[in-house]
């Protein structure tokens, strides 16, 4: 059974990482006095997303549903989050690599092309959706029914077996 204190701690960590992600997405263009600042911000941002993925998977492994072998059920319930997070990480890394590659010599140069602009829009949109889905999943994983045997789980199990 998930302890309330542990869950609170994990949830705080997740929200901290999400907040950092939102902060970098919002203010990275503003904080580009030197290319190295942006580089550090981007690296930490990508690591934060990676950490969030690890944490959410550890939370999945901790559920009774997962331990009962109903991995499919978990995946079905949270596939949106899993896919979006993976897509967002890929988009973030590619945008960061691209932007840093163009701005490494001179951080105040005009580097925008249509391709970069498109990637930028998609990455930022994915960030919002990732934030929403991730937050929702993290909050929903606090439901005690995920951590104990219940009628709901048995019903779901029967549905999966069919």
């Amino acid at each position: 059974m998930l302890q309330t204190s542990n869950y609170s701690l994990v949830l705080s960590l997740q929200f901290l990482l999400l907040s950092y992600d939102l902060f970098v997405n919002s203010f990275s263009e503003l904080l580009r006095m030197a290319p190295v600042i942006q580089l550090v911000l981007f690296i930490i941002q990508d690591i934060a997303v990676l950490f969030n993925i690890i944490i959410i998977f550890l939370m999945f492994f901790n559920t009774f549903v997962f331990q009962a072998g109903l991995v499919n059920l978990l995946f079905h319930k949270f596939k949106g989050t899993i896919i979006l997070t993976a897509v967002y990480l890929a988009l973030s890394i590619s945008l960061h690599v691209w932007v840093m590659n163009l701005r490494w010599k001179n951080s105040n140069s005009f580097v925008w092309t249509d391709g970069l602009q498109t990637l930028f829009v998609f990455q930022r949109l994915a960030a919002v959706l990732y934030c929403y889905f991730y937050k929702r999943t993290a909050v929903r994983l606090g439901d005690p029914r995920f951590y104990q045997d219940s009628l709901w789980l048995r019903k779901e199990f029967m549905q999966v077996r069919r």
């Binding site: 998930l2 302890q3 309330t4 869950y7 609170s8 949830l11 929200f15 939102l22 902060f23 997405n25 919002s26 203010f27 263009e29 503003l30 319930k77 949106g80 105040n108 005009f110 925008w112 602009q117 930028f120 829009v121 930022r124 949109l125 960030a127 919002v128 934030c131 929403y132 889905f133 937050k135 929702r136 909050v139 929903r140 994983l141 606090g142 439901d143 005690p144 029914r145 995920f146 951590y147 709901w152």
Partner: protein, 395 residues
């Protein structure tokens, strides 16, 4: 404690041995023991032999025995004053944990021997008080369980007749629960009422049950509500910011948007801070709006949108505003890097200003309108939150 021993004295007549005060086995009325502690081995022997005599004696002496011993002892033994002092001291001494332990070790030896010899009930019952005190030690740790003794087990027996208790019955050595419970307070065992203690332990249980009521679901719900509050704030703040922004742009651009160079010069320092703030607030507002319509359940969200639910409409408008705002990133960066066309390497060639700024201003205006409209829609049903209902009910 005194009250307890008193009750034992009252119990006396039907069950004589129990009536004896809870003294060390050495101070028995039948056995003349002047120095009980020094001559332990002898004591045992005399006890063993005396116990056999006791078999015969008890049957004869039983009725008067219980009330007599204290006075008898005083008469029989020369060291009576000492014993009296001991007796006076007895209740507190007996309460001493260490003392009790010492004695129990000695008395257990005696008891074992007595059992072998087929000792009468008299001897066994003398041991009883000690056993009781001994029992209170573990009971102190888990007295909650021990307290759950049924009332009928407690000896308040006046009705037990001597006939019922055969003198040949082997001593069982099993202690009976008493009405009092001995609780150790400041290194002394003190008698406390059982029913009162049960009440207090029940209260503790209740308070222990209250604690885990703060479950993970409550944590999740409180976090969700906290975020909804942040979202509510961001809706209004975003609408205000967007309106302020468009007003500033129009003021700087002059009448009929004739003074673009002034706008660029003044606004180039503001463009990125505002763009960043706009993205931050738009993200928060969009997430909050999605939360309210439970966007993850697409079918419900689409149905709500088609039914022209204000919250669903607002979330759609927020998302559109977000896309529009992001699409202006290239233009914003160009404004941020503005240098007059006369400067070498300028991004702003002569005559290009209107071409770039016109759509940029229109998009900003549309964003401001969308955001303002969304705020109105949100405030139409501020309490709506489908996610919370789902969090509370179904997984």
């Amino acid at each position: 404690m005194r009250a307890d021993s008193g009750t034992r004295l009252e119990e006396g007549p039907p069950r004589p041995p129990r009536a004896l005060p809870p003294v060390p086995s050495a101070i028995q009325d039948d056995v003349p023991l002047s120095r009980p502690k020094k001559k332990k081995p002898r004591t045992k022997n005399t006890l063993a032999s005396a116990s056999l005599e006791g078999l015969a004696q008890t049957a004869v002496r039983r009725p008067s025995e219980s009330s007599e011993p204290p006075t008898k002892e005083l008469e029989e033994h020369p060291e009576a004053p000492v014993q009296r002092r001991q007796k006076k001291m007895r209740p507190p001494i007996e309460l001493e944990t260490s003392f009790t332990q010492k004695k129990t070790s000695g008395s257990s030896l005696l008891q074992d021997e007595n059992n072998i010899d087929g000792e009468p009930a008299e001897e066994a019952v003398i041991q009883k008080p000690r056993r009781k005190t001994k029992k209170t030690q573990p009971a102190e740790l888990q007295y909650a369980n021990e307290l759950g003794v049924e009332d009928e087990d407690i000896i308040t027996d006046e009705q037990n007749s001597p006939e019922q208790q055969s003198i040949f019955t082997a001593p069982t050595g099993v202690s009976q629960p008493v009405g009092k419970v001995f609780v150790e307070k400041s290194r002394r065992f003190q008698a406390a009422d059982r029913s009162e203690l049960i009440k207090t332990t029940e209260n503790i249980d209740v308070s222990m049950d209250m604690k885990p009521s703060w479950t993970t679901r409550d944590v999740a719900l409180s976090v969700h509500r906290a975020f909804r509050m942040i979202g509510l704030f961001s809706h209004g703040f975003l609408a205000g910011c967007a309106v302020w922004n468009i007003v500033v742009i129009y003021v700087l651009a002059g009448e009929e948007l004739s003074n673009f160079s002034n706008l660029l010069q003044q606004y180039k320092t503001l463009v990125y801070p505002f763009q960043s703030l706009l993205y931050l607030l738009l993200s928060l507002s969009t997430i909050s709006a999605f939360d309210r319509i439970d966007f993850a359940k697409t079918s419900i969200a689409i149905r709500n949108f088609l039914a022209l639910d204000p919250t669903a409409l607002a979330s759609f408008l927020y998302f559109t505003a977000l896309i529009l705002s992001l699409s202006q990133q290239m233009a914003s960066d160009r404004i941020h890097l503005y240098t007059p066309s006369s400067v070498n390497g300028s991004l702003w060639a002569a005559g290009i200003e209107e071409q770039i700024l016109q759509p940029w201003i229109v998009v900003n205006l549309v964003v401001a309108l969308l955001v303002g409209l969304s705020w109105l829609f949100m405030s139409y049903r501020p309490g709506m939150d489908l996610s919370e209902g789902i969090l509370e009910k179904i997984v």
